[in-house]
């Protein structure tokens, strides 16, 4: 359903992997070694991702290459330029992992609370006689936004279809060519001459030419028509083939 959710060993994303690996270092997250983490992570990626489709692991690989870059910068003497110092990047990563760890614990804590309809219950009564129920219609901002997106999308699709209608399909071109050859069966006709002179829209002219060209190749294949062109980009001529007795 969702292309972005990847389950490798139950992980939903690289940051979760990083957090678990960092915890394996068995030190306070504040003091984890980013160098070690980079190695741990690249081993994880090598190990788990070997047989997985490349496009689905893009997220994991991006982090892997970033970590390799960070590692190399941490190992080399820092250059004096405008780049953010590697030590700051490492510190940011530590902080992020700490925050994620906190939020994971907080989430577990929330979910471990008593939950309505699981651990505690409302009154089972559905209706009560002395309550006069008045219905008011309700709509949340989210409902509203969801629907405007929906309308907007539909509008776009509709416009797109409208444009399509003007295009010529190969089927139409075949019908058209058949009519032309019913009336004219012994002269070479240029493909360009079939385009309506009053058609000024360039896109439609192109569509007409393309579909009629494809259709004429189809007729040639079937043996109904001969086709001829003197040179590349020269006009293309068509002529009905005489019916053999």
């Amino acid at each position: 359903m969702n292309d972005f959710v990847l389950n490798i060993d139950g992980y939903e994303g690289p940051i979760e992997v990083l957090l678990d690996l960092a915890k394996k270092q068995k030190v306070d997250l504040k003091h984890i070694s980013i160098l070690e983490l980079a190695d741990q992570y690249s081993n994880f990626v090598k190990d788990k991702i070997k047989n997985t489709n490349l496009t689905t692991v893009a997220d994991f690989l991006v982090i892997a290459s970033w970590l390799t870059y960070l590692k190399s910068r941490l190992l080399l003497p820092e250059k004096k330029n405008n780049e953010i110092p590697a030590s700051t990047l490492a510190e940011n990563l530590r902080e992020q992992l700490i925050k994620l760890d906190e939020m994971r614990k907080a989430g577990t804590k929330i979910l471990s609370r008593p939950q309505l309809n699981k651990d505690f219950f409302k009154n089972g009564l559905e209706k009560n006689t002395f309550i006069e129920t008045k219905y008011t219609f309700d709509c949340s901002l989210y409902d509203l936004l969801k629907n405007i997106v929906d309308v907007d999308t539909r509008k776009k699709i509709k416009n797109f279809k409208l444009n399509l209608k003007k295009m010529y399909s190969v089927e139409e071109a075949l019908q058209n060519l058949k009519k032309v050859f019913e009336l004219n069966n012994d002269e070479w006709i240029s493909l360009d001459s079939l385009v309506k002179n009053n058609e000024t829209d360039n896109l439609i002219r192109k569509s007409f030419t393309a579909s009629h060209f494809t259709a004429s190749l189809e007729l040639v294949k079937k043996g109904d028509v001969n086709i001829r062109q003197h040179a590349a980009f020269a006009p293309i001529y068509l002529k009905k083939r005489a019916v053999k007795k």
Partner: protein, 176 residues
């Protein structure tokens, strides 16, 4: 812990409360240790709630909570239940909010289907949309727009606070 009388009473209270129908003694007894006399516990509870706003009530062997009968005069409480707007109404509201002032014809064009008067009526009744005067184009069609009550309901101080369609897409709200 379950072997304490107070706990048995608590269990019975919770079960009676959570069930809309009366609960039979044979279903209650499953949750009570054997050394307790269920009938006695139930009578004790009934006594406890006798003078309160909710009473314990039974029909033969079936038990439940009910509001006290003498409370009925005070219970003319008006309950406001919220009912979801229909898809057509939400869409119409969204179009009015985003394209106002907008004519009925324009709404129909965007929705690619007719809107019934009922749909607009619901929005008017709710106080979210109103007539905004006539457009100065041929035919002088009436236009619709949203009200201050609309802003209030959606916790907006200004129409400018509505997210743009681009922003909504970035929020990752699911498109159908």
């Amino acid at each position: 812990m379950i072997n304490d009388k107070n706990n048995c009473l608590k269990i019975i209270e919770a079960i009676l409360f959570a069930n809309s129908d009366l609960v039979d003694e044979k279903d209650l007894i499953k949750n009570i240790p054997r050394n307790f006399d269920l009938k006695k516990l139930l009578k004790e509870l009934k006594e406890f709630y006798k003078s309160r706003g909710i009473n314990i009530y039974n029909v033969k062997s079936k038990w439940g909570f009910r509001t006290s009968p003498d409370m009925s005069n005070f219970l003319k409480i008006e309950k406001n239940l919220k009912r979801k707007l229909s898809k057509a109404a939400v869409e119409t509201l969204a179009i009015i909010a985003y394209y106002q002032p907008v004519t009925k014809g324009e709404i129909e064009k965007v929705r690619a289907r007719n809107i019934s008067q009922g749909t607009v009526d619901i929005l008017i009744e709710r106080g979210w949309v109103e007539l905004k005067g006539r457009r100065k184009t041929p035919g002088k069609p009436l236009t619709w727009g949203t009200t201050d009550k609309f802003l209030e309901h959606f916790n907006l101080t200004d129409l400018k606070e509505l997210p743009t369609i681009k922003e909504i897409n970035q929020l990752g709200i699911e498109k159908k």
